[in-house]
């Protein structure tokens, strides 16, 4: 399939698929840390389910990335044998889980983005990617319904839950801009109708986020704050390294282990 792309497009597409796959792999790993620690049994199960979906989507996307690259790397090779600087996930997703409210707010901000991104990617001219988008969108609808309902419940809840979820929103607002910033790689792929134009999703994203945030009696933070940048180019926070060391240690200690 990748033979039909020229060298530049293939390199761009490989990087783009890493961005999509790494977002879901890293978030999936963070969510898996809740397994056995959820605030109640139902939420323990819910977060583990969402984690599985994220990792499942990551498998599809990273497998495809490996095929496009054409160097014989599998999804496991890409997940377990790359360094932090080679990861392309958003900085938002590698942050430690914090409290339940922090995890829920991160999930909500990402779910809205993921929902519109997959919706747009259904029209990708790169058929295997469009197919993954159609499939994954069905799962993200459930995730978004879950996270937005929790934002409403915690925001319009007790004084403490409201204060905590507002804090979670304020703390994470610095990371969201990165979702919508395009670089040369994405711009070239947008021209080919392979990538979705993330910058065009920002308005819709903001509209849905504001709708739920206001309904939850919370405040959208001001935009006059420091905003992170560069994670799509591999510039991450220190947290990613610790996450990877835990995620990768088994594969690196016992390469080719089977179980």
């Amino acid at each position: 399939m990748s033979e039909t792309f020229d060298k530049q497009t293939r390199a761009d597409l490989f990087d783009y698929l890493l961005r999509l796959g790494d977002d879901r792999l890293i978030l999936g790993h963070r969510l898996s840390e809740w397994c056995g620690h959820g605030p109640m049994l139902e939420e323990d199960i819910a977060l583990s389910n969402i984690s599985l979906d994220c990792i499942g989507q990551a498998i599809s996307l990273l497998k495809l990335a490996g095929e496009v690259e054409g160097e014989g790397r599998s999804e496991d090779d890409l997940a377990y044998f790359r360094e932090a600087i080679d990861f392309r996930n958003l900085m938002l997703l590698e942050q430690p889980n914090g409290d339940f409210g922090y995890t829920i707010m991160r999930q909500f901000l990402f779910d809205v983005y993921s929902f519109y991104l997959y919706e747009a990617l259904q029209e990708s001219t790169f058929q295997p990617l469009a197919e993954i988008a159609v499939k994954s969108l069905k799962e993200v609808r459930y995730h978004l319904r879950h996270s937005s309902q929790w934002v409403l419940r915690l925001g319009d809840g007790t004084e403490e839950s409201r204060q905590r979820i507002q804090q979670a929103l304020d703390n994470q607002w610095r990371y969201v801009e990165e979702m919508f910033v395009l670089d040369d790689i994405e711009e070239r792929l947008i021209v080919e109708n392979i990538a979705a134009d993330a910058s065009a999703l920002q308005e819709k994203w903001r509209e849905m986020v504001e709708k739920i945030i206001h309904q939850a009696t919370l405040q959208i933070p001001g935009d006059n704050i420091y905003k992170t940048q560069g994670s799509r180019q591999g510039k991450h926070s220190e947290h990613l390294g610790y996450l990877l060391s835990e995620m990768q240690i088994l594969s690196r200690s016992y390469p080719d282990a089977q179980w």
Binding site: E42, D111, V134, K135, L144
Partner: protein, 161 residues
């Protein structure tokens, strides 16, 4: 060897998480091709991360091997995506018989992620409509948790996707 014969063999392969139905009834078997060299089977995942898919693949391979088929290729296809809408009435009845509320057809409003209207799912045990959702996420990716206020029993509902 005819594909119809292969489909018959595959009916012996149960869904490892819902053993009341087989992989054909579940709708994950998408295509079967038979040639002199062997058999090619396309399967599609229920959910992208469903851990049972690997087991189903291994079970399909084991069953066909048991039936004397030597060269088996199993491919995973994504499109068209798996949907509970394809589930037959008899399959739905089998789910209900083991206490799992079967999926309804996907409705337009299910596609809106911000539609929080709770779906009314009748209890598979006592048929009461006096039930409520306890969680969208259950013991497996494909099921939600409900509670029946009439017979006071928790039950699972096969999610409609």
């Amino acid at each position: 060897m005819e594909p119809a014969q292969i489909y018959e063999y595959l009916k012996a392969v149960k869904d490892p998480e819902v053993p009341a139905i087989n992989v054909v009834e579940l709708g994950v078997v998408r295509d079967v091709k038979c040639a002199d060299e062997g058999v090619e089977i396309d399967i599609t995942p229920t959910y992208t991360g469903c851990p049972a898919m690997k087991i189903m693949e291994a079970d399909i391979r084991a069953e066909l091997t048991r039936q004397g088929i030597a060269n088996i290729t199993i491919r995973t296809v994504m499109f068209p995506p798996w949907t509970t809408d394809d589930m037959s009435e008899s399959t739905r009845a089998k789910l209900k018989a083991v206490g799992i509320a079967p999926p309804e057809k996907v409705r337009e409003e299910d596609l809106d992620p911000l539609n929080f209207q709770e779906k009314k799912v009748p209890c598979p045990m006592c048929d009461s409509a006096n039930t409520r959702l306890t969680s969208q996420f259950g013991s497996t990716a494909c099921k939600a948790l409900y509670y029946c206020d009439a017979c006071l029993q928790p039950f699972e509902h096969f999610k409609c996707i």
